[in-house]
Symmetry: D2
Subunit: 302 residues, 4 copies
């Protein structure tokens, strides 16, 4: 981990920090962190591994897990499971497919998943439930929502508002648009460190079991299937690239974080704020490529 962090620290090309959410544009592009937790709970880390950052779309893994817990496979009537073949905020696909988003990891799909969690509750309650679940997974009650990031996105998130209203016009959302959007903007604004994130992802590497307590978070079947969706759709229109180079299920966020899962082996979190043209962490992907090559962790072969 130290070696990888040191190598990454020296690289001049780091991608571009997300600018469309004003609060995120302020982050230092030099930051880099990485944490690996294996199936026995051993932790290896490098760089800024305990500095919190905005997890953004990585929260979609946790909301998907929660929503599946609530309504099970009925979720798939509202959201598909296929790669989108287009950008994370595209609205074109929604028109061709009558308001049904292609998968839970593009923005439209994650808004539809959030709507399932809101379902009849007040936004504040729903948000509390999500935050509680993330704290439970990470075993850390200090995890918080960054209200400035949430407010910043709420003020400027017209594209997400368009997606939500568009789905509402097809009846895909059940709650008032501003309820669902409010919860969505806030769970994207959860701040976590690589350490916390890798902790929270462990259940996906261990067949659904929380290894600290040996209790089941989800069934092995469900853990497996969430991993498959992360592989196919976790990096927007760069998912093929991530599979080709890293070979692990993963989910990126525009805050520069990536959560990657080596099934049966490890939960990995990496953070570098600069993004590539698909909105995925530039150095984060390179670091993961180095890691999986050295460890032979790619699911596709040595």
């Amino acid at each position: 981990m130290k070696e990888i962090a040191a190598d990454m620290a020296e690289r001049p090309e780091r991608g571009k920090v997300a600018s469309y959410i004003p609060e995120l544009a302020k982050i230092d592009p030099k930051k880099f962190g990485i944490v690996v937790i294996d199936d026995e709970g051993n932790v290896a880390s490098g760089g800024d591994s305990e500095a919190p950052f905005s997890i953004q779309s990585i929260s979609k893994v946790f909301t998907l897990t929660l929503a599946l817990g609530k309504i099970g496979d009925k979720l798939w009537q509202r959201v598909g499971r296929e790669p989108s073949g287009s950008a994370f905020n595209s609205i074109v696909q929604l028109e061709y497919e009558k308001g049904k988003p292609r998968n839970p990891f593009i923005n439209a799909g994650a808004i539809a998943v959030t709507d399932v969690i809101v379902s009849g509750h007040q936004p504040r309650e729903s948000l509390g439930e999500i935050l509680h679940f993330v704290r439970f997974l990470a075993e850390d009650n200090s995890i918080k929502i960054d209200d400035e990031v949430a407010a910043s996105e709420q003020r400027t998130g017209f594209r997400n508002s368009a997606l939500a209203n568009y789905m509402k016009s097809f009846g895909v959302l059940e709650n008032p648009v501003h309820f669902t959007l409010g919860v969505y903007f806030h769970h994207c604004a959860i701040a976590m460190s690589c350490k916390q994130l890798a902790m929270a992802g462990r259940f996906l590497a261990t067949n659904g079991i929380n290894p600290s307590t040996d209790m089941s978070v989800v069934t092995p079947e469900r853990a497996k299937r969430i991993n498959s969706i992360m592989m196919m759709c976790g990096h927007y229109d760069g998912s093929g690239e991530f599979a080709y180079r890293v070979g692990l299920p993963g989910k990126s966020g525009v805050g520069g974080g990536i959560l990657a899962i080596a099934p049966g082996k490890a939960s990995i979190a990496v953070w570098s704020p600069g993004l590539d043209e698909n909105g995925n962490s530039y150095l984060g992907r390179i670091a993961l490529e180095q890691l999986t090559r050295r460890m032979g962790w790619s699911v596709f072969g040595v």
Copy 2:
């Protein structure tokens, strides 16, 4: 294998045999075959495991391997590696992306890959090279091209002809359109049994090594990457579904065959002519789902 074949034999719902290539429409929908070859060369089979069928798009795995052998990563200047988010014969994406196909496993991409193999040769020579490679992989010189299927597709393949001419207009194809298309239609018409197909796929399960001879077919790196593309793009717009249910890299053909790879474990071929709405074998996918669940072979967890 016998159990799975027996279960499949009883199922009334079998999908629809492909009708757009007249020769394929004549196949008996009751056929079913499955063969698994593990990393030590042990063969298990069930059903019509030695009956030849038209491998159709499964040939794209072998032409991709050949083309990478010829020009290496330069191939990616002509073809992408991302899931398409649309049907196997869609032309829309080509217009938006200026004639560059999204991946080597949709028709347009496979035609572009074929063009690389043709590159300056006569169609007959190129076809000979492809057939020779497939026979080498399967260790079986009796494998043949079904000329009636090839002729049937050549007479009716207007959609593929549109794709090829469209790419030619953007300079993506270098050879005369009818050269490249001729080779394409013929390699799709290779006839193989499940046994032969599983044999031919072994190198992808064994890090690029031919386990019979211990010689390298491709580097471990390349085997891994071909697997990743099979996972992301191997089942057209049903690739997400296949990953979700089966959890293995795989490639389907409209002849009803599927080649699936359990990296480090096994090469698997299955055949049932009836197709689902995405053009993938209906029972083939169900059989593979049963198999991976029983064996714990999904790359995404137990």
Copy 3:
């Protein structure tokens, strides 16, 4: 006019009353009215010519005229002038053309035009200005906004809300989204009779002059150009059909009204609530086809 109204009254096939705005769905599909005012001010009418109906998208002609009066040709930096080739509420084109609507008569374009009128004012003021302008054109101060229709659309207009937020994300709208949308929903809810509507359209048939007062409403050049846009874009994806059958510039609304202009000859308003599959009045178009054929008014020949 009486003959045409009588013929229309007998026709069994009348199209379908718009259902997506609940208030509009209550209208009696048997209603039919027609009024023609020639360039000398002679009025001919038939059927329910004085019954008010919701003019809906026909208001876009008046807001376009007002916005051109405010900022002139600068308007065309925000909105195009080409037919859209798609449905009235499509959002696909907006994505491909970076938030710039194709023309002022599809919903997105009319919202952008409304935003120009709002420009810095309170919604109430802007709405007052629009209503004042329509009353001035129609020479009738009794014209009102139907608040129930406006409220009905505001509650259910998620698609328009999506369009507005989408344009806002590209900076095409300058005012708060709910300001602009509020004004948009209300000017679409103006209620007018065929008589009032034909009066309000006269300036387009008389080179921009108000024939009662001989004062100029717009320049002859501008009247001509507004007519050209009505011809090319006035009936959504049925504009070609309307040109082919009627041969006049016209603008339809989902309330079942059509305003048509015979340049140099007459202003015509027709109303029948049943719509065809493109959202244009079914009998209204047939009545106009009869009228122009009898009068030889098509701009394309006798």
Copy 4:
């Protein structure tokens, strides 16, 4: 005419000569010609009014007229009448509308119309029929096809070949693709002068009558309707612009010609090889704008 030609001769900005058909790229961009023939047969001309040029897509007006003569309104089962909202050679719309082109003036539509004329005949016969019709309309037997232009396009027309094969796959074309395409490429290569073209267009300005002989070429109804399609679809994705600025039905070709019709008044042909970004003659449109403004010929008002 002389004044307009002189004004045009001085303009430095002339657009870009079409380069995608190699033969057309050789034309001198300084050429400019204009001819007006009024309803009494008076001819006014300016510039290179008797120099032949490649009429290209303007031939689509004549083939549409011929095909309507053959099968009447049945033509509209194969081709639509709506503006396309996209480029002249787009294939996207064909996929969304199952192989049915939007109108007879985009390439796909004109190929489908050509297929109707070919219908069972040898290409040579069909081409003879088209050439005979054009000579008859222009009253000039010296009009010829430029074989070098035809051959040039046939060698490089991959995009049109893609469109034709695509429609064939949906059954929209009845004849062998290379028959229909051969005839299409050749009728686009007809060479005519402005004088000949204006002569050939007269029947559209005179309600379908050939004014020299007083014989009917088409019914008044049909002349009117062809004009409406020229207005709505005659300039590809610049049709709105042409209506807005010129206000006449017209059809452009990438050779730089435009045929425009002032119904009841005149047939007008103009030629300047430089094109705008939509593939329409840059100076040709400006010349027509000047002409219609001076003459008050816009169908939309003085």
